[in-house]
Assembly symmetry: C2
Homo-oligomer: 397 residues x 2
Amino acid sequence: MISQQYKAMLGGKSVIRELSEYATARAAEIGAQNVFDYSLGNPSVPVPAAFNEAVIRLIGEKSSMELHGYSPSLGLPGVRRTIADSLNRRFSMNYTMNDIFMTSGAAAALAHAFRLVTAPGDEILTFAPFFPEYHPYVDLTGARLKVVPANTEDFQINFDAFEQLLTPSVHAILVNTPSNPSGVAYSRETLTRLAQVLTKKEEEFGHEIWLISDEPYREIVFDGGDAPYVSHFYPRTISCYSFSKSLSLPGERIGYVAVNPACGVSSMLVTMCGQISRGIGHNCPSSLIQYAAAEVCDMTSDLSVYETNMNLLYDALTALGFEIVRPGGTFYMFPKALEEDAVAFCKKALKYDLVLVPSDSFGVPGYIRIAYCTDTEKVVRSLDAFRRFVEAEYPNR
Amino acid sequence: MISQQYKAMLGGKSVIRELSEYATARAAEIGAQNVFDYSLGNPSVPVPAAFNEAVIRLIGEKSSMELHGYSPSLGLPGVRRTIADSLNRRFSMNYTMNDIFMTSGAAAALAHAFRLVTAPGDEILTFAPFFPEYHPYVDLTGARLKVVPANTEDFQINFDAFEQLLTPSVHAILVNTPSNPSGVAYSRETLTRLAQVLTKKEEEFGHEIWLISDEPYREIVFDGGDAPYVSHFYPRTISCYSFSKSLSLPGERIGYVAVNPACGVSSMLVTMCGQISRGIGHNCPSSLIQYAAAEVCDMTSDLSVYETNMNLLYDALTALGFEIVRPGGTFYMFPKALEEDAVAFCKKALKYDLVLVPSDSFGVPGYIRIAYCTDTEKVVRSLDAFRRFVEAEYPNR
């Protein structure tokens, strides 16, 4: 019979998707250049030329069977080695290829990580504001996602709330730094304290607590800023990476799981990922894309536009009276709305062709997410729309 | 805590993998050309040149954001339309793009199909001999795979055994035609009778029974032979396809689910696939690979080598006294071993550097699988090894 579980999900509406559809319809009316669509987190800069060059060169160099043949279920050995070396060089880690499992992007990496260290019924804690897809990602494994209320002061961790929710049912913690939607990167102090709490609670509970680190924005860090490498702070860390944002190729579905060898069982966990794949229909990312991504894994797209956009928006919006925690990276910011009801606020913004996302689904009411992965020229033109919006709708602020 | 379920799976040994590892080790000793490795089902002919040409042209023609950007979760609309059109033209169906869901190969297609129409505890029936990976594929969804004993006469369906196992707990039937490992394609008579049985039992049970058709070998059919399109015979058919074998690119992970619109809910099921993806970390195949595969979706690699090899082996082995149901397609054949214990038989074959797979894991004891996706020159040389093997080990036959 048709699955009632998945059929029931069809009723669910995504605010982000609805807004994006509105933006597309509005663009058909007044031209895309006149709709300031800040709703979607889609990279707006091209892939490095070296990636496409690598694809073309690989087609010329490798035999069809080598290039397009089955990859081993854990990923191509040379690719895993290249990624381990790159991480070691850039983050002073000591991964070997046995600690690396290639995945079809971060979504697949997380799908493996959750199943590695939780069983149905176990709890996974994450911190608001958080990426709303975490709910289906976790809940459909049979584990349960619980959300620690936000520290709205600076969007670091609300440790009091965290310790209250950190019961023996919790087997994994899910962090996302730099964060979608806040743009904030966890500080060394935050990560040190997080590790201390986990170590203490592991002893108290008599079981391991794993740290799952979702880090697709790791390479987008502003101001020469500091986004410490999470795995440094805690041995039982499973890093989930995607090249989607650093190389601007979200459609190519390429990423990996990297398990900190300090946990003592990293190689076993990576081998277990191959077993998990059999149940979820994962069977490596495309081999052509694995080879090409490995060749450029130390590069990024020209990501400077995101910082330029952030500065323009941050300065203009704070001048208009918005409260904003200044992002440390990503292409998001998370200002406080100018009224309590963020949904009402975003509806009013649409009159000025500003497409903003209300924060409710991110686990914090009263804020908005601005995804500024767009041309700087358009960001500049949007500032006037923001000004008109605020002056007309919130004249008494 | 570390998942006990997946940890326990690490103990499991794959006979095929062990044999393949033996073959690799032996090749290091005596040279790969002297090891007749018939263990692995890996395409041995190159991708059509047009595929690589399409990749290179797409890189030149499309913008980075268009080519490498996020694909909608159901697949690229133009690609889905192209595939629907191709299926309609070739198999007289009437799919629209709304009936097509793009997947990372057949493994991902099956992972979605099982979840579409079963819930944990439901039974799925398949027919021996069967692809052993079906066990983890199904069992890890929470459904249970039950295997209908083989009809060893011709490897069509054993309908008596089938009807005995077809209880109200069964919600889906899984077929694979042409079949890995037998190479046999189900006849029109078989598929007609299968549909009749299912229709009768649906009425009797008062619930739907879905037919999941795994058809990666659909395009490898011999003798101008007949491998009828399964979905023609039964409205509630979910076809799971992979381009791995037809285009010789198993590493690129590209395939699709096609739901027969005659079932009346195909568009809903395809939309549900997008929900299932969220839980299993699937997020479309690579967009570059989607575009390129769509451009060549009516082509195949030069698959004639498989038929040449089949004829050589079939003639030589039957002359040596083997009983074989002549394959209708694929690159497998499934002869009866010359002694009851197929494992013992295959061990003896190794002395002649013939790497054959015993049938036990395929659900039928006493047979062997020969995967003849290899160079014809090597097949020819292997015939002498087969002759020496049989004459020395089974002199009295």
